[in-house]
């Protein structure tokens, strides 16, 4: 039964090998999706190229549908799949910081590594920035630790929070994604007309 690691199908050492292989595949797919290019990524925020939104939502609903049906077929114990605990306010503010960094630098942490590995200098500089940021965060954490741990909600999922069935939640998320795809296509056309060039 999945998740395999939690059921001791293999050791910690071997899990690193698997993580390496999956990581390579993940990076490769991101690069092929165009996520190694800061211009494409940043264009998301000016609504001229909605590729980020499309790729993200595709990944989300693919994974969500897979997890739902695997659980339904008894292949997967969803309660063992790790979910980050929710700390509402700190995570909203942290998310806003990430968004600002995304617009300014053109990458999110993962894509900066993809970009750096293809030899882009801006990606490499971005990685240096990440490490500097981690260092500053680590050194100054005691100053805002109470805020960092505020509004803890534990492990929350959408269906538990709203009291909906798992299937209904999935259906709504899929609808939202399909709606977002349609809106993105439409938005790109409008922006292309406005900018006088086709969507990339």
């Amino acid at each position: 039964m999945m998740p395999y690691f939690k059921f001791d199908y293999f050791s910690v050492d071997f899990s690193l090998v698997i993580a390496f292989v999956i990581g390579i595949a993940f990076g490769f797919v991101l690069e092929r999706g165009g996520f190694g290019n800061a211009r494409i990524l940043a264009a998301q925020f000016y609504f001229s190229n909605m590729r980020v939104l499309k790729v993200m939502f595709t990944a989300i609903i693919t994974a969500a549908i897979g997890l739902f049906y695997f659980t339904w077929m008894g292949w997967l114990d969803l309660s063992l799949v790790y979910t980050t605990d929710t700390f509402l306010i700190p995570q909203i503010i942290g998310g806003a910081f990430l968004g600002i960094g995304f617009i300014v630098g053109g990458y999110c942490p993962g894509t900066s590594f993809v970009s750096a590995s293809t030899g882009r200098i801006d990606g490499m500089v971005y990685i240096l920035g990440i490490f500097f940021g981690i260092f500053v965060f680590g050194e100054t954490l005691p100053l805002f630790e109470s805020f960092f741990n505020s509004t803890p909600m534990g492990r929350v999922t959408l269906n538990e929070f709203f009291g909906l069935s798992h299937g209904l939640t999935l259906f709504l998320v899929v609808l939202m994604a399909l709606g977002a795809f349609a809106a993105a296509e439409w938005g790109e056309k409008i922006m292309a007309k406005k900018n006088g060039r086709g969507a990339e």
């Binding site: 039964m1 939690k6 059921f7 001791d8 595709t58 609903i61 693919t62 549908i65 739902f68 049906y69 659980t71 339904w72 008894g74 114990d77 969803l78 309660s79 063992l80 790790y82 980050t84 069935s165 798992h166 299937g167 209904l168 999935l170 259906f171 998320v173 899929v174 609808l175 994604a177 399909l178 795809f181």
Partner: protein, 221 residues
């Protein structure tokens, strides 16, 4: 109809597929009901025959002394009984709430009640809910009392038995127990204190938290 479907671009086909799967999910509702369990009867029967899943009191005492912490010790008795006495490091999870606890399916879990009955029932519930490593403390708390807290040695014991008892005595004193030597029907305590009727050791600080489980490890991206 078929021709129309074929003409659609790949993104459209995928979108329709996702929409369909989402809709079917809506009809399915909840993919797993945690209160209904599937049992592989044969596997369970084999597991009980092999006796691999029983840990005796002495082994547990040994683990506790060595501070071996790769398992969670679960007290299945009521919270009141747990408050009166519990084996060090145990957590209180009354048997009726065993499936709603924080116990993880991949955790090593050692169960005990007053005797073997409650732990055997809980063992069955957990095993059939796909908990991987579930063990029973052989004889439960009663065995813990007899073997660890209040071990007895007959006065007419052989030298071998006495040597063995010496070791048990040390273990017993470690857990605040009262080892006794029985001669002619009267028990004499070996420990420094001279109370004739053995008393339960007082609960000392780290008695484990009520209803809790092991702290979750940080993981993720």
């Amino acid at each position: 109809m078929k021709e129309r479907l074929m003409k659609l671009s790949t993104p459209w086909k995928l979108a329709i597929l996702a929409g369909l799967l989402g809709f079917i999910a809506l009809l399915i509702g909840n993919p797993s009901n945690r209160n209904v369990i599937d049992v592989n009867a044969k596997e369970m029967a084999l597991a009980t025959v092999k006796n691999h899943d029983r840990i005796d009191a002495m082994t547990l005492a040994d683990w506790l002394i060595k501070e071996n912490a790769d398992y969670t010790l679960v007290d299945l008795r009521s919270e009141k009984e747990f408050g009166e006495y519990n084996i060090p490091t145990s957590v209180s999870i009354p048997i009726e709430s065993i499936l709603n606890s924080d116990l993880m399916r991949n955790q090593k879990i050692l169960l005990y009640g007053n005797d073997d009955v409650a732990s055997a029932q809980a063992w069955f519930i957990l095993k059939s809910s796909n908990y991987k490593a579930v063990y029973i403390l052989k004889g439960g708390l009663n065995a813990w009392k007899n073997e660890i807290l209040f071990p007895k040695l007959d006065a007419s014991a052989t030298a071998e038995q006495t040597t063995a008892f010496e070791k048990v005595k040390q273990v017993s004193l470690h857990f605040g127990g009262t080892p006794q030597i029985i001669s002619g029907g009267t028990a004499t305590t070996v420990a420094a204190q001279t109370t004739v009727a053995p008393t339960m050791p007082k609960l000392t600080a780290p008695a484990g938290k009520v209803g809790g489980g092991a702290k979750k490890k940080k993981e993720g991206c």
